[in-house]
Symmetry: C2
Subunit: 137 residues, 2 copies
């Protein structure tokens, strides 16, 4: 049975389940930062998914990126599957702004995560849940 890697679990909050992936909010208010985790066992590389799952992951990633660009009025969306630290396949989808803390650098390894206040986090999760449940990736 699928279980979220404990390191991902410690840093994120669940928003909703899409056909292939869980959509998670990274608990770092410096950036609107979501993570897709395909709920498949023992998959580390996206090309280890079946072809059908690869196509679905692409559609989920594109739908999420497009929504984030629009919803947050982002200057750029960063999309990445790295997995050097946490091997469980996960795809970062991050809204970037020319005036954010680290632009134009990628976000990883720079500065420290700033956790959301509880009420701000719950409000953001509710808002994103309402937007994402209406999408059919």
């Amino acid at each position: 049975m699928f279980e979220l890697d404990p390191r991902l679990k410690a840093d994120t909050h669940f928003i909703l389940q899409w056909p292939l992936s869980q959509v998670l909010l990274m608990d770092d208010r410096r950036y609107p930062w979501l993570i897709l985790v395909p709920t498949r066992l023992n998959v580390s590389e996206p090309f280890d998914l079946t072809y059908e799952e690869q196509a679905l992951l692409s559609r989920e990633t594109m739908a999420l990126g497009e929504l984030m660009k629009e919803h947050f009025a982002a200057d750029k969306v960063n999309i990445a599957a790295l997995g050097n630290v946490v091997p469980q396949l996960h795809v970062h989808v991050i809204a970037r702004f020319e005036d954010d803390d680290t632009f134009p650098s990628p976000v990883w390894g720079l500065g420290h995560a700033e956790r959301y206040e509880l009420s701000a986090r719950e409000s953001l999760i509710d808002t994103l849940h309402a937007r994402l449940r209406d999408i059919e990736p």
Copy 2:
């Protein structure tokens, strides 16, 4: 008419044209590092491509990642579309090793590119060209 961004051109070498994208070798021998550039005008985000092109980009990315993992016996493949500096849509596909210069960090912004010797570069491009031309993404 499509033209490669001059900053990408300065840092890479052409390997071959796939149905959607040019496949380029990043001129940095610290990592086997290829870049896919869809030959479409004025596209910065992958979700700005048509749905058909998005599906093709996914297949090209997966095929390239799978080949690099196998060919270089990589520990992990890093895949990313960032574009904060060069807005022309391009997808990084990088073979990573637990003993490479910066593992497990992402490669961007750490250290300095080390260019290939001409003969090593030409040999690598020939080898990759021979492998990639036989793939139908």
